[in-house]
Amino acid sequence: MKITEKEVRYVAGLANLRLSDEEIARLRQDLDGILEHMDKLNEIDTSGVEPMAQVLFEGGDTLRPDVPHEPLGSHSALANAPQPGNGYFKVPKVIER
């Protein structure tokens, strides 16, 4: 077995995902099969091989000219907020006074 239910719960915590017991059981089974397939990677020799993080074929300058422009504005930026207020995104209280 590649992964236990306890590990699935731990990873769900890292990912901030609330999962039901049924989902945990199902995911354990799915991830187990998938991770077993991933073990294939142990067969291939990668010593001395550089990791590829991005398709890099162009060095050079990717910065745009620093020209001032109109920003989106807080009205537009907040238009999709579940709970806007006073120009901010409101969230449940984090610090108790």
Partner: protein, 476 residues
């Protein structure tokens, strides 16, 4: 005028001859799309007002004697992962059911600047994660060719509307095959351009080192025109490439004599049945057109699925962290604490496949596993890219299958995620290498199911790829 078989050229000729106006065409196209959509569920919504406003602008430009642009009046559909200002963009997720973007993606801006008329937004797998379009929160899409079968995914809706004739061309997105595979399943042309060729500004991020925007069309020429419109550098996307954009459609002369093509041994090894027969028949046609075909080897192919599903899910787990109940419309009602709000919102909002990929991606990035999975996969990615670089020392293009099988039945693979992942084998290699690749229809099985041939070329050599696909298409 048969709206279901329109081409870009036909629209242009009709407008210039005053046979119809852009507004008349848009109205007709919207009515047709609304009437036909219940058969496939390919559109999530039509944007009548935006379409008609844009069509009137095209008519005004024509009336002033101005060049209305290469896509003037052409009805276009757009996958619902590409943001459209003022038009709800859901990514086929419950989480974004009411999300109305405050800006347009660069591809959208370019498309409309060229005169294109956006009819609506198309269904897809949630956040573009899937190979069958069955992961949409708003219902499956039916393949217009065979309604009991999937249209492919994740851009299933964008492939289906073009096949069905409810749009002339469309935009999809491709991370591991999400344009090419549905194109092959629905019998249309689908292009994944070179990584960086088309700006992703406004494309909802799934796996940033692999995401592309790409066109669908009923002909290679139309796909080439649309690609030419959306390609090019964009100051809003630091990964977009500065390389000049050729006039792709001007190069479609049918002459492919002397081009060297490679057939990967590793791909043919497991390919069986009619998918194999049709591909080999298409290769014979290319030979008759004067291409030289040889077998090549891409030895890292067997490791591509594992490599892709580690890298893509790792990136997805980071990209999807933003859907936390703070900014994007949905917040779980039960949330009393900040951390509870994150967990509840994400638990309620994401569908099963998104959760699976977030979990897998979080796992492979977590302490103790990073080197074994993520770093290892990145090294294997180098080997896969190197395979193609080596191949392109000997050949001008690689010819390959798109999928191991034609469109499968709805529900057939939903209980086995690994089997679904494994079906992406022929498309993810090109994605990992970042090279241009496309699917062009190469016939139908005895049951009438379309099959596509994949053509892959060197970075930024879309021209050779399109020339080959066009020359092949002309023989049909």
């Amino acid at each position: 005028m048969d709206i279901a078989t329109l081409t870009i050229d036909r629209v242009r000729a009709g407008l210039l001859a005053r046979e119809f106006s852009a507004a008349e065409l848009a109205g007709e196209a919207l009515r047709f799309a609304a009437a036909e959509n219940p058969r496939t569920n390919a559109y999530l919504r039509l944007c009548e007002e935006r379409a008609l406003d844009q069509a009137r602008r095209v008519d005004q430009a024509l009336a002033r004697g101005e060049d209305p642009g290469p896509l003037a009046g052409v009805p276009v559909a757009v996958k619902d992962v590409i943001v459209t200002r003022g038009v709800t963009t859901t990514c086929a997720s419950r989480l974004l059911e009411n999300y109305v973007p405050p800006y347009d993606a660069t591809a959208i801006v370019k498309l409309e600047a060229a005169g294109g008329v956006i009819l609506g937004k198309t269904n897809c797998d949630e956040f573009a994660m899937g190979s069958s379009n069955e992961n949409s929160a708003y219902g499956v899409v039916r393949n217009p060719v065979a309604p009991d079968r999937v249209p492919g995914g994740s851009s299933g809706g964008s492939a289906a509307v073009v096949a069905q004739g409810t749009a002339v061309v469309s935009l999809g997105s491709d991370t591991g095959g999400s344009v090419r595979q549905p194109a092959s399943f629905c019998g249309v042309v689908g292009i994944t351009p070179t990584y960086g060729r088309v700006s992703r500004y406004g494309l909802t991020a799934y796996a940033s080192s692999l995401d592309h925007i790409g066109p669908f069309a009923r002909s290679v020429k139309d796909a080439a025109v649309l690609l030419g419109v959306i390609a090019g550098h964009d100051p809003h996307d630091a990964t977009s490439a500065a390389a000049p954009v050729p006039d792709y459609s001007a190069h479609l002369d049918g002459n492919v004599k002397g081009l060297k093509l490679g057939l990967p041994l590793e791909y043919l090894k497991h390919l069986t049945g009619e998918s194999r027969d049709l591909l080999l028949k298409a290769v014979d046609v290319l030979k008759r057109l004067g291409c030289e075909v040889r077998e090549i080897s891409l030895p890292a192919t067997d490791y591509a699925i594992a490599c892709y599903y580690i890298i893509a899910t790792a990136e997805a787990s980071s990209n999807l962290a933003r859907y936390d109940g703070v900014r994007y419309t949905m917040r779980a009602a039960s949330a009393a604490t900040l951390s509870g709000m994150y967990r509840e919102t994400r638990g309620e909002g994401f569908g099963a496949e998104c959760k699976r990929r977030i979990m897998l991606g979080t796992y492979v990035l977590s302490a103790g596993y990073y080197d074994a999975y993520y770093l290892k996969a990145q090294k294997v990615r180098t080997l896969i890219a190197r395979d193609f670089a080596n191949a392109f020392q000997q050949v001008d293009a690689v010819v390959a299958p798109v999928s191991p099988f034609p469109a499968f039945k709805l529900g057939e693979k939903m209980d086995d995620p690994l089997a679904m992942y494994l079906s992406d084998i022929y498309t993810i290699t090109g994605s990992l290498a970042g090279i241009p690749c496309m699917s062009v229809p190469c016939g139908r099985t005895g049951d009438g199911l379309p099959v596509g041939m994949q053509i892959l070329t060197r970075h930024f050599d879309e021209t050779t790829m399109l020339k080959l696909a066009d020359a092949y298409e002309r023989t049909n």
